[in-house]
């Protein structure tokens, strides 16, 4: 099965990279017209293959990976897709 994990800083935790990108998009508004951009968040996406053929088991496995390593739940939230 193919797993995809999306990781972002939690709502309420300041995303300084997102703010910088937002500032750049807004700053270019004069030439390109992106003045309506707000709330940019920069995150990461991980993709990997799993030998498991059981969707529920695979989801549980990926969840434990997120809790132990892939995300730091003090500051980050994650979303799992298994297909």
């Amino acid at each position: 099965m193919k797993a995809t994990v999306h990781i972002f800083l939690k709502a309420g935790v300041l995303d300084v990279q997102g703010k910088a990108v937002e500032g750049a998009l807004n700053g270019l508004a004069g030439t390109a017209g992106w003045s309506d951009v707000a709330n940019v968040r920069v995150g990461k996406v991980l993709e990997f293959d799993l030998k498991s053929t059981d969707k529920a088991a695979a989801e549980a496995e990926v969840k434990s990976m997120c809790e132990k390593l892939l995300a730091n739940t003090v500051i980050e939230s994650y979303r799992i897709e298994v297909a």
Binding site: V13, L14, Q17, A20, L69, N72, V74, I75
Partner: protein
């Protein structure tokens, strides 16, 4: 005193830490590779050094926190052995769950590398007793992810329990409550972003890091 310095792939302050501990305390210091599954017997101090373990990939300190040796460090910390994590070492201790909170990208997005002034917030610790009544100290800082964060509830607990050991006089990175260094509730695990290991004799620009190691010696001499 018997001390060990951990070495991860990408550590770059491991030698500095060894020399700092040796020069300030005369301790015998072993270097312990991160794949080791045991620590030398009878340790009084474990130093988790600065650097860029695992290239800072994924999150600073995340992968190092799962290195085999860290399971032994957690056990040693639970037995009351002193543990000091500096810079990347602080990040590793947070990721390992030995300290609360997390270290995020600096608020200014820049790598901050400069001498920095700190206040000693708690003198009543095994890491600070030798500072006497010195009100502020200078050390150097060098990191891109030193922005300490904890949620409101955790932060209140850290403050209420007097776990903040060092604060920045001028906040360089957006850390909540100007926090530069904290300890665990038991008081035997310290994490800090500034480098006492780069400030232990006047030739380095400051000797203000030395009393931290002297404090640890004092605890042992009193025991």
């Amino acid at each position: 005193m018997k001390a060990a310095v951990l070495v991860f792939p990408g550590s770059n302050c491991d030698r500095d830490c060894k020399v700092a501990v040796e020069v300030t305390t005369g301790a015998q210091v072993s270097m312990v590779w991160h794949q080791d599954t045991s620590l030398p017997a009878g340790l009084d101090l474990i130093v988790v050094p600065g650097g860029f373990s695992y290239g800072d990939y994924l999150r600073c300190g995340a992968m190092a926190s799962l290195s085999p040796v860290m399971a032994e460090v957690v056990k040693a910390a639970q037995r009351g052995v002193s543990v000091v994590g500096i810079c990347n070492g602080f990040q590793i201790l947070c990721e390992a769950g030995l300290l609360p909170g997390a270290l995020m990208r600096n608020a200014g997005l820049k790598y901050v590398c400069k001498p920095i002034e700190l206040t000693i917030e708690n003198r009543n610790t095994r890491f600070t007793s030798a500072y006497g009544d010195k009100s502020s100290v200078w050390m150097t800082q060098g990191n891109g992810d030193g922005n300490f964060f904890a949620d409101a509830e955790t932060l209140k607990a850290i403050e209420d329990n007097h776990q903040v050991v060092f604060r920045y006089v001028e906040n360089p990175n957006g850390s909540v409550n100007n926090i530069a260094g904290i300890m665990n509730t038991e008081g035997n695990v310290l994490g800090m972003m500034p480098h006492p290991d780069r400030a232990f004799e006047p030739a380095l620009g400051s000797a203000d890091g030395a009393p931290l190691f002297h404090s640890l010696m004092r605890v042992l001499q009193a025991a």
